[in-house]
């Protein structure tokens, strides 16, 4: 790559863009990872399990952000790849081997294959049409999960999934499971971040910003959108595989509309296009649904709706879009 000739020039005062990691972002990431890794030492097993579930859902939301935030494709059916990943991991654990990372590889492959098949259709549309098509396709997948009982367990779901084994030991300890999930969560996040910071990610942002212009430079947007769709599906599948390892249960609920909608809500609340923002959004969504929800007599969704409204009004670019720093960069707000 060739901006080398520019190196002799003075460094600009402000360095935006995803491709650059400043020391502040690096420090924040390190602190967050250390906090997450040490959580089982401080938290009760129940709280650790809740945190693990947040990580899994955060990975799902981050993978959706590659579509929604980076590529500009708002999907309402992203849980299909998540759920398919969970079923695939469960099936391999029961009928093949439960030794890590086989169930996860099966989950990634299943998510990616499903995304190739459905993305081939969905990616040809955009905007509201894309939203509706992804919703419809995911509903077809859910119906399949319900009716294909010999494999999926029907509406009861696939239960009693064999525990993942790492080096011959079954992952049943809450803390061990948490670290296993954390490791793969970080791997998945790194993949998403690398994609979005690479020239491939810049291509996706270019397509989102102005697709005809991308064609006029010589690109075929369909290929890139499909590639993004498959990558997002594969990482969602990975998250599904982690879900199967954690709750050892896969249900049609996991690939249904509610899960898709909650993931999209997490992306919007957290701040789309940042990868890390949707992770925060996912934590908030799971916190409200699982922790506050039961004590609110089943009114968790109502609270989520209120949070959504507050975010849309007070933080239109999500939690990640709020300028936490007091040192504001000097920007020229000349729109393109």
């Amino acid at each position: 790559m060739g901006a080398a000739g520019a190196g002799r020039l003075a460094r600009p005062p402000y360095r935006p863009g995803y491709a650059h990691v400043g020391w502040r972002a690096g420090t924040a990431t390190t602190v967050a990872v250390l906090a997450l890794a040490s959580a089982p030492f401080f938290l009760a097993p129940y709280a650790t399990t809740a945190l693990t579930r947040m990580l899994i859902f955060a990975l799902l939301a981050a993978s959706l952000d590659l579509l929604v935030g980076i590529t500009g494709l708002p999907s309402l059916g992203h849980a299909a790849y998540f759920g398919v990943g969970a079923y695939a991991a469960g099936w391999i654990a029961g009928h093949g081997t439960a030794a890590a990372p086989a169930p996860l590889l099966a989950a990634v492959a299943a998510g990616a294959l499903m995304a190739v098949a459905l993305g081939w259709v969905a990616v040809r549309s955009s905007g509201v049409f894309f939203l509706i098509i992804t919703l419809a396709l995911a509903e077809v997948v859910r119906q399949l999960a319900v009716s294909w009982e010999p494999v999926t367990g029907g509406s009861n779901g696939m239960y009693g999934i064999a525990a993942t084994r790492v080096g011959g030991t079954a992952l049943t300890n809450v803390a061990h499971l948490h670290w296993y999930v954390l490791f793969w969560f970080l791997v998945g996040l790194l993949v998403l971040w690398s994609l979005s910071a690479s020239p491939f990610g810049a291509t996706l942002r270019g397509i989102r910003d102005n697709e005809p212009r991308m064609r006029a430079v010589g690109y075929r947007p369909f290929r890139y959108k499909l590639a993004a769709f498959v990558a997002a599906g594969a990482v969602a599948g990975l998250a599904g595989g982690l879900l199967a390892a954690q709750q050892r249960l896969a249900t049609p609920e996991d690939l249904g509309f509610t899960t898709s909608a909650l993931a999209l809500l997490a992306v919007v609340i957290g701040g789309s296009g940042t990868i890390w923002g949707p992770c925060l959004g996912a934590a908030l969504v799971i916190l409200v649904r699982d922790s506050f929800g039961p004590s609110l007599d089943g009114h968790g969704p109502l609270v989520l709706g209120l949070v959504f409204i507050v975010v849309v009004y007070a933080m239109p670019r999500g939690v990640a879009g709020v300028r936490w720093s007091r040192r504001r960069p000097q920007l020229r707000t000349k729109a393109g």
Partner: protein
């Protein structure tokens, strides 16, 4: 030899806009396309780029037929458009703009990223800024740099001086001249006649979807009556 346009027709759902345009632009030469608002100048450039589908006629680039091809094929064949309003990507950095365009550059490219940064030094200091943070002049430089890196043999420039300060217009003019000297054919749509006359070898006037007058620049300037009749302005 370079761009040959014959009897090109195109338009929108509401009706035909171009009713048979004939044009020739040679490598290392610039043709200024003048005409009143609504004459079809921008539609012609969009049609040449494949962003508006032609309904008839022929567009040949070095003998290769491009009419009806997809936009990305036309771009890879060597046509680049610097559109009206720049249309840079607001959330993509300057450096990424250049890298993306460079990755799609055709064979035998004349321009490199270092080359365009030398041509537009203002972009180098802005390379980590995203598109929406640039001034109008910088956006214009970036749009031109982006088109150069795709390795074009023809550049279509749509109103490059629009909304720019005089100093920035001078910089655009000098950059366009450098590009022409490098052997690229330039088709320039421009309202600023000073800029058009400064860079173009010849002038074509488009009216009601057809070329009604084509002459070299010097002759056009010697004939203010015709210019006034066709454009409604004093040259």
């Amino acid at each position: 030899m370079s761009l040959r346009v014959r009897d090109l027709r195109s338009g929108y759902r509401q009706g035909e806009v171009l009713h048979g345009v004939d044009l020739d632009v040679d490598r290392g030469r610039a043709l200024a396309l003048l005409g009143r608002n609504g004459a079809g100048k921008s539609t012609l450039l969009l049609t040449l780029m494949g962003l508006v589908r032609p309904t008839g006629g022929s567009v040949r680039l070095d003998g290769r037929e491009l009419a009806g091809a997809r936009t990305d094929q036309i771009a890879r064949a060597g046509v680049a458009l610097v559109p009206q309003g720049r249309r840079i990507w607001p959330t993509v950095t300057v450096r990424e703009h250049l890298v993306l365009a460079n990755r799609r550059g055709g064979g035998g490219r004349a321009w490199t990223i270092d080359g365009v940064l030398d041509l537009f030094p203002g972009l180098a200091v802005r390379r980590r800024h995203v598109g929406w943070q640039l001034s109008g002049g910088e956006q214009q430089m970036l749009a031109m740099a982006r088109s150069l890196l795709t390795g074009p043999s023809v550049i279509l420039l749509d109103e490059p001086s629009e909304g720019l300060a005089p100093a920035a217009v001078d910089q655009v003019a000098s950059a366009v001249r450098t590009v022409i000297d490098g052997g690229v054919a330039v088709l320039l749509v421009e309202h600023d006649l000073h800029l058009a006359f400064a860079v173009a070898d010849s002038v074509a006037v488009l009216a009601r979807g057809a070329v009604v007058h084509q002459v070299d620049t010097a002759a056009f300037r010697r004939d203010p009556d015709t210019a006034h009749r066709l454009l409604g302005v004093a040259t």
